[in-house]
């Protein structure tokens, strides 16, 4: 199944609630997704950790796509997952 792409500019403290509401059905863990964002903060990081746990448990694919700088930042903070640099 081709992954569904979800795009959000900033994954942070003030955008998360709305992001979750809008994508409630897609973020079921059953549909493979690519989550694209330009920047992230601590709450967004925590959301990624939780999403990674969900997709690990269901076996569906979960990728993130962002700028090199943001991906480096995520890696640095200890989150190991499938990542691709935003084109």
């Amino acid at each position: 199944m081709k992954p569904t792409e979800i795009v959000i500019e900033e994954l942070n403290n003030s955008t998360i609630s709305e992001f979750l509401q809008q994508n409630e059905e897609i973020l079921s863990g059953q549909i493979p997704i690519i989550l694209q964002f330009e920047s992230i903060d601590g709450s967004g990081f925590q959301l990624l950790v939780s999403l990674k746990k969900l997709y690990q448990s269901t076996g569906s694919a979960f990728h993130i796509s962002s700028s090199k700088q943001t991906l480096d930042q995520i890696r640095l903070l200890g989150l190991e997952m499938s990542m691709e640099e935003m084109k």
């Binding site: 979750l20 709450s43 950790v49």
Partner: protein, 694 residues
């Protein structure tokens, strides 16, 4: 604080294992004090213990280990000989380490005095007290002058961190700018995504390994603006950069992948194990392993990654749930048997298969090899033989035989008792052995093997053996036998298990065997096992301990009497008979003639105080316990049954004849008969009756 408690528990587990491992190394050194590898191993163990105990708030333990480390540092540098005095002090200190683990603050005055005496002993070994006044601030000894240090940080964001409109990422990035930084996430407390209703509710924490040329204050300064919203623990791991060790780097990477945090204790231990292997050596080893020892180290590291520590309580809960599942499965089967729905039957069969596999798997997890006790046996044999100037070798075989963990724990005291007896009273002094034409070194052999659903543990020695005639005379004088009674060899030996026979005076007078053997048998009986003894005067003694593989499940015979169901453990079962034309003669003892033999029996209805009509043809289950054969009269035999044993609870703990209960498939409860107690009571009652008649 929960995390901290978990860490302390982990430390206690690891420290106990380390102490046991050091005890094992000491036993090797006791055999060969020049064994360099063992000396280095012991030193490293002491070093790790010192560092980790200091980190987890065990200052006395750390101090004591520090003293010891100094001694073994001199030994490993050939500045001090490992003599008998040091070895003896080392063994005593191993015991003292265990005390220091259980009483960290030395609150017990006896422990305090013991500690002072032990420290004094070590100081007198060192003689020059300045040797132990080594300047040291870090947890690792390093020879070179460091410029960078390695730190462990545990960072927990408080619950309302994000609600205060602050972000953790800039703080962590500023930390990273200070030096080399590795972040390991702990997502254990991060909620499942479907429970992720509140993104501001912080659950994530980090373990951070930081290599930095700065002080703790500098590190703390990075968190100054979020100080109120975080919990931060900082521990200095080393006074240098230890991340040049690729084992540690790989370890961190594996921990990152698992996202379950990083325990500093594990880090320290791995550092200790691998610190002398420099990066290039490790690279060479990884590409072409050529040393057995290094192969072992490598595989050990793989093992570290592929196994996890589970608290015994969690394991017990798992086993209990599996037992519940087995019971529920049996109930399901009752319904399925009466159902004509093929699909339902198919699903039930699948569930049954899975339940069986789950049960086997869960119980195999709780199985522990007997070898886990081996060091304790060796230590005991070493201590007693050394005290008594005897020469004893302990040979073991089959100790990979596994038993349920709880059984291993309960088996240890009686086994140690048997070993104590074997050395103390069985094996002769070298002079006596020589005079008898025996080798000067006595041998104690422990052998374990599976025997059906049981495990046999045999401990034999080539010592003095038991003088049957002396035991018999003693037994007669104590009233166990009449003077003219014809008793078999087994009956005489069996007397050694009687409580009244176990006095030290008896041991000295007789052959020096039998101290507390009643304790051994009682312990085994409580585990649904038994102990027997064989001996030949002058040649040696063999104690055989028989016990079930597990206490949780019991193979039994399901019977009924007065509409109540009972389980009789199969291990005691001899034969079953139907008794046609049964009549009970109240005037005499309850005796039935079975196959020409007079068999005393117990009527189960007496236990129930039920006098309603019994079936025309009742049954008799013949049970054999030790040397006694007794029948149990019941109404019906239903069949074999694998019972999941349940405790009756404290309310029924005084009920002597019942050891537990099980839930049958139809939900009915069957009581498990305590055959040992029933027979013991029966024999006591019979003897009383005889006394009254006399």
């Amino acid at each position: 604080m929960k995390l901290q408690n978990d860490q302390i528990n982990l430390f206690l587990d690891e420290a106990s294992e380390l102490i046991e491992s050091m005890e094992k190394t000491l036993l090797i050194l006791d055999e060969n004090p020049k064994n360099k590898t063992a000396i280095h191993d012991f030193f490293r163990g002491m070093h790790t213990l010192k560092g980790s105990s200091s980190m987890f708030g065990y200052p006395h333990l750390s101090d004591f280990a520090h003293h010891f480390e100094s001694i073994y540092d001199l030994i490993r540098n050939d500045e001090l000989d490992l003599n008998k005095t040091i070895l003896t002090a080392s063994f005593s200190s191993i015991d003292h380490f265990r005390i220091l683990l259980s009483d960290a603050a030395l609150q017990d005055i006896h422990h305090q005095k013991e500690h002072e005496a032990r420290v004094k002993e070590l100081n007198s070994i060192l003689k020059v007290s300045s040797v132990i006044e080594k300047k040291e601030t870090s947890l690792f000894d390093e020879d070179d002058e460091p410029t960078e240090s390695t730190w462990h940080l545990n960072l927990i964001l408080k619950q309302d961190f994000y609600s205060k409109e602050i972000d953790v990422l800039p703080v962590l990035e500023s930390l990273q700018s200070l030096g080399t930084c590795s972040f390991v996430i702990n997502d254990s407390e991060v909620p499942e995504f479907n429970e992720f209703y509140d993104a501001f509710d912080c659950k994530i924490s980090w373990d951070i390994i930081l290599v930095i040329d700065a002080t703790e204050t500098t590190i703390r300064e990075q968190f100054i603006f979020v100080d109120e919203e975080i919990e931060l623990e900082i521990i200095k791991l080393s006074s240098r950069n230890v991340l040049d060790n690729s084992y540690l780097v790989n370890f961190i990477e594996a921990k990152k992948e698992a996202s379950k945090g990083l325990q500093p204790f594990e880090f320290i231990q791995l550092h200790e194990e691998t610190k002398n292997k420099k990066a290039e050596d490790i690279h060479a080893l990884e590409t072409e392993p050529d040393s057995e020892e290094d192969d072992h180290s490598a595989s050990k590291n793989v093992e570290t990654m592929s196994s996890i520590r589970v608290h015994v309580q969690k394991l017990d809960t798992l086993l209990s749930l599996v037992s519940e599942l087995v019971t529920a499965q049996a109930r399901l089967n009752v319904f399925i048997d009466t159902s004509s729905n093929n699909d339902l039957q198919e699903v039930a069969e699948d569930i049954e298969k899975i339940t069986r596999r789950l049960r086997e798997n869960a119980f195999s997890i709780s199985m522990v090899p007997l070898s886990t006790m081996e060091t304790r046996f060796q230590r005991l044999v070493r201590d007693i033989s050394s005290n008594q100037h005897k020469k004893v070798q302990l040979i073991s075989s089959g100790l990979d035989t596994e038993l349920e963990k709880s059984l291993i724990e309960r088996l240890t005291p009686p086994l140690l008792h048997v070993f104590r007896n074997a050395v103390d009273h069985g094996i002769e002094t070298p002079e006596i052995r020589k005079a008898k034409g025996k080798p000067e070194v006595g041998t104690i052999l422990i052998n374990a093997l599976y025997s059906g659903a049981h495990v046999m543990v045999e401990i034999s020695d080539d010592g003095n053996g038991i003088d049957l005639e002396k035991v018999k005379q003693k037994a007669i004088s104590k009233g166990f036998f009449k003077a003219d009674a014809a008793v078999s060899e087994n009956e005489i030996l069996d007397i050694l298990f009687k409580p009244g026979f176990s006095t030290s005076e008896t041991i000295t007078d007789v052959s020096g065997r039998g101290v507390g053997m009643d304790v051994v048998r009682t312990a085994l009986n409580q585990m649904r096992g038994d102990a027997t003894i064989e001996s030949k005067a002058g040649e040696g003694t063999k104690i055989s301990l028989r016990l079930p593989l597990t206490l949780s499940i019991l193979d039994g015979l399901l019977v009924s009497s007065a509409n109540q169901k009972f389980i009789i453990p199969l291990q005691f079962l001899d034969k079953c008979y139907e008794i046609p034309n049964f009549t009970r003669n109240n005037a005499k003892d309850d005796i039935l003639i079975i196959e020409g033999e007079q068999i005393p029996y117990i009527d189960l209805r007496d236990l129930l105080e039920d006098s309603t009509n019994r079936p025309i043809i009742p049954s008799l289950v013949m049970i054999r316990f030790q040397q006694t054969k007794v029948g149990i009269l019941i109404d019906h035999i239903i069949g074999e049954h694998q019972a999941v044993v349940k405790s009756l609870g404290t309310l029924f703990r005084k009920v002597q004849s019942i050891s537990g209960a099980t839930i049958l498939g139809d939900g009915e409860i069957a009581l498990i008969l305590d055959v040992n107690k029933i027979i013991t009571e029966y024999v006591t009652l019979t003897n009383l009756k005889k006394e009254v008649l006399i």
